[in-house]
């Protein structure tokens, strides 16, 4: 029988914590969500020896146990709640040898909680180059812990770390820097009132907005108030005294254990900063990087996407011809396979986007972008930190909304969340591409391709709208919170291939299994709605049409007859009646009932639009044409002429640029803001705005 212990990885951002996690667990990891909240939870298993396994939890990066963002709350909640099933048997604090002083602040806080704690000093391979030397045994003694010198990049020191984790029971749980010293009377009373609790833990509960387990925050606060009241500003001053006391201890400790040759530092950072943060070159380089990313995601990626598209079409065809005829085969060939295809086709795009984002983050460049953009973003009520969510929004709003969690200021964070859905996510792309191909001529003027230009324009419209509504919200919303902005500028690093790869795999997996489920379910529901009808007209379609043809004395080829039957069937299916029902609403925008169905069904997810049309048309017409050709033949039922013309095409493009066509985003916004107020506001504002803009565009252009 193997025994398993819980190990929590804690550390400052940019210490290489994730690489340590990846090195310990390899591909033996999974991503989930913390119960009730949407911060990603990474966990994995490392085998320590023949009888012991470590269940390792990678906690979000934090500078201290005083949480200032939701990400950081998670760390505290886990470390304070002994009843959590993930409560660690041992904590590994990952620190960076170059920033040891600052990293030790968090270490001494966790030590105060009485949890066995190991100090892992990462990037030990750089010590010599940076002129740093450490007296490890002495440091271990002063910090009352065990230390592992590791290098996640060179993969050294991990055996030692694993041995230390295995022997965690031998670690001291004594505090190394006792916080109680800053106000002995107050902390003494605290101890007297709650004799069975760790005093530092009580202190954290009193000063934080943390909810957890069976420790009732209000009860503790009230009881604590009863012996000696402390106002909020007194508490804040005490927190500051605590930090000063900890730094005093750390400075004394490091003075006797660490030597640093200052002259060895600098170099690469200074010269790269000079270039990348230059007031002209800095912006130009960022623009070129963005351009390159877009080029890859929207141009080069088209090849694998086309390949996937065709493969699924062939597979569907093959299934139809191979399996015995019947409803079940139809379900597979027309509902399930195209549904899965609609998910798989996004994989190249999402994978490449996260490939680039993770390289930018890992290299330390993203912080420089935050620096460069803060002033501009601040004008619109956003923060430099909003640039990461907004750029991520070009892949998918869901991870982007989640990425806003590291913005400490609530107003800036809320505005960022509310405007993200305007940025052009990859789900809009299939709609854009097919409509553009249908209505915009494939011609160039001075080497500029019209179709590409329209696509680029749509991106600008989305981003412009995001920024404009941010400005609007900024003007409308009042808040008492003071904005603040503190961003660490990490050292430049070569990204580690393994980390990039694992990020790409994780994000792709969470898209396929998260959003993918919804897309597939909707594809199947749509197929059912299109394949059955509520009354006899659907069942007897063949007879009715044949009788009609006979009485009207029409001469039809067998194919023409088939088409007529299918189209009659579709009109009398469940989805046909639904589409007819909403036709009056969408007709002023230039859409017929079939587009209406697609618009409605794509409310669940935008990319369903194309799939729905594919389903509708392939059900209506058994001929194997590509969906594009089929759409270009479609005739407007009211005015005649092509259904997809410039006016209706532009109207559709604009509708999809602005409308809040994504249930999953609404659900995520609901969870992140903890109220239905904001997602409903988003939905109503975006959809009515989209309707009005499309209406105006169509009426002018038609």
């Amino acid at each position: 029988m193997m025994r398993q212990i819980n190990v929590a990885l804690v550390g400052n951002p940019n210490t290489g914590k994730t690489s340590v996690f990846n090195n310990l667990t390899g591909l033996n990891q999974k991503v989930g969500n913390y119960p009730g909240i949407t911060v990603e939870k990474k966990e994995g298993v490392a085998k320590l020896n023949r009888v012991l396994k470590a269940h390792i939890i990678d906690l979000p990066g934090t500078y201290s146990l005083n949480a200032s963002s939701l990400d950081e709350n998670i760390v505290i909640e886990l470390l304070l709640n002994k009843n959590d099933k993930d409560y660690p048997d041992v904590v590994v604090v990952v620190s960076d040898v170059e920033n040891l002083k600052r990293n030790l602040l968090l270490f001494t806080q966790i030590k105060d909680l009485g949890i066995p704690t190991i100090l892992a000093i990462n990037m030990a391979d750089r010590m010599e180059r940076k002129g740093i030397s450490l007296d490890v045994p002495k440091l271990e003694k002063q910090l009352k812990t065990k230390i592992a010198l590791i290098s996640a990049r060179k993969k050294t020191g991990f055996d030692k770390l694993k041995t230390l984790i295995t022997n965690y029971k031998q670690l001291s749980t004594e505090a190394c820097c006792n916080a109680s010293r800053v106000d002995t009377e107050y902390f003494g009373n605290l101890k007297k009132t709650f004799p069975n609790q760790n005093t530092y833990k009580l202190w954290l509960v009193i000063t934080q907005d943390v909810n957890f387990g069976n420790l009732d925050r209000n009860q503790i606060k009230n009881k604590a108030k009863s012996f000696e009241p402390k106002s909020d500003s007194e508490l804040k001053r005490l927190q500051q005294k605590e930090i000063i006391a900890r730094y005093t201890f750390i400075n004394d400790t490091l003075k006797s254990t660490m030597t640093k040759d200052i002259n060895m530092a600098k170099g690469l950072r200074a010269s790269l900063d000079r270039l990348l943060m230059h007031r002209i070159w800095g912006y130009l380089i960022f623009a070129v990087i963005l351009l390159l990313i877009f080029q890859v995601i929207y141009d080069w990626v088209a090849y694998p996407m086309d390949f996937i598209d065709e493969s699924f079409a062939h597979f569907s065809e093959w299934t139809r011809n191979t399996l015995p005829e019947g409803q079940f085969t139809k379900l597979i060939a027309e509902g399930i396979i195209p549904g899965i295809g609609g998910i798989v086709i996004f994989i190249p795009q999402i994978a490449f986007l996260f490939f680039f984002i993770s390289i930018l983050e890992e290299s330390g460049y993203m912080s420089r972008v935050v620096f460069l953009t803060d002033k501009i973003m601040k004008k619109f009520g956003l923060s430099g930190k909003s640039i990461v969510p907004l750029v991520s929004g070009t892949a998918c709003a869901i991870p982007a909304v989640m990425a806003s969690r590291n913005i400490e200021n609530w107003k800036e964070r809320l505005i960022t969340i509310l405007v993200i859905p305007f940025t052009t996510c990859s789900a809009r792309l299939p709609v854009y591409l097919i409509i553009i191909a249908l209505v915009i001529p494939d011609k160039s003027f001075l080497g500029v391709n019209y179709q590409g230009l329209v696509l680029l324009l749509l991106y600008f419209i989305g981003f412009g709208m995001a920024v404009f509504s941010a400005w609007l919200l900024h003007k409308v919303m009042k808040t008492s919170h003071k904005t603040y902005f503190v961003v660490e500028m990490p050292n430049y690093k070569m990204p580690i291939a393994k980390n990039v790869l694992i990020t790409v795999l994780d994000k792709t997996k969470s898209f396929v299994f998260g959003a993918g489920k919804i897309i597939l379910a909707i594809s199947i529901i749509l197929w059912v709605l299109a394949s059955y009808g509520p009354n006899e007209k659907f069942k007897n379609a063949e007879n009715i049409v044949k009788t009609e043809v006979k009485t009207e004395n029409l001469v039809l080829t067998p194919e023409e007859l088939d088409t007529k039957i299918s189209s009659y069937k579709l009109r009398h299916s469940y989805i046909g009646y639904m589409g007819k029902g909403i036709e009056p609403v969408v007709q002023p925008l230039g859409y017929d009932w079939k587009i209406g169905i697609a618009v409605i069904s794509s409310f669940a997810r935008r990319e369903v639009f194309v799939g729905t049309l594919a389903t509708i048309y392939s059900v209506g017409n058994e001929n194997e044409e590509t969906i594009k050709k089929r759409m270009s033949k479609e005739v407007n039922p009211v005015f005649g002429g092509k259904l997809f013309n410039l006016a209706s095409g532009i109207s559709l493009l604009l509708f999809y640029a602005f409308a809040m066509q994504c249930m999953s985003t609404l659900a995520v916004v609901r969870r992140e803001t903890n109220t239905w107020k904001w997602p409903i506001l988003q939905l109503v504002f975006m959809t009515s705005f989209a309707y009005i803009v499309s209406l105006i565009a169509y009426q002018i252009l038609k």
Partner: protein, 76 residues
Amino acid sequence: MMSIADLKSGQKATITDISSETIPLKLLEMGCLPGNAVEVIKIAKIKDPLYLNINDTFLAIRLETARDILVKLIEE
């Protein structure tokens, strides 16, 4: 009295006092404490944000925060 906001790019100073009411706790945690050294590495366009080296931690903060951190210039 001068604050970080008054420093020029490349200048070094010692932190003498911080406005404990307005400075975010996070900044203290990063080492922005009285007695520590601060160097202005770069000032962005329109002086905001500022790129600093405080106690060997490289940080970006906004001008309004920099005004609340008082310093004494170190003469070289």
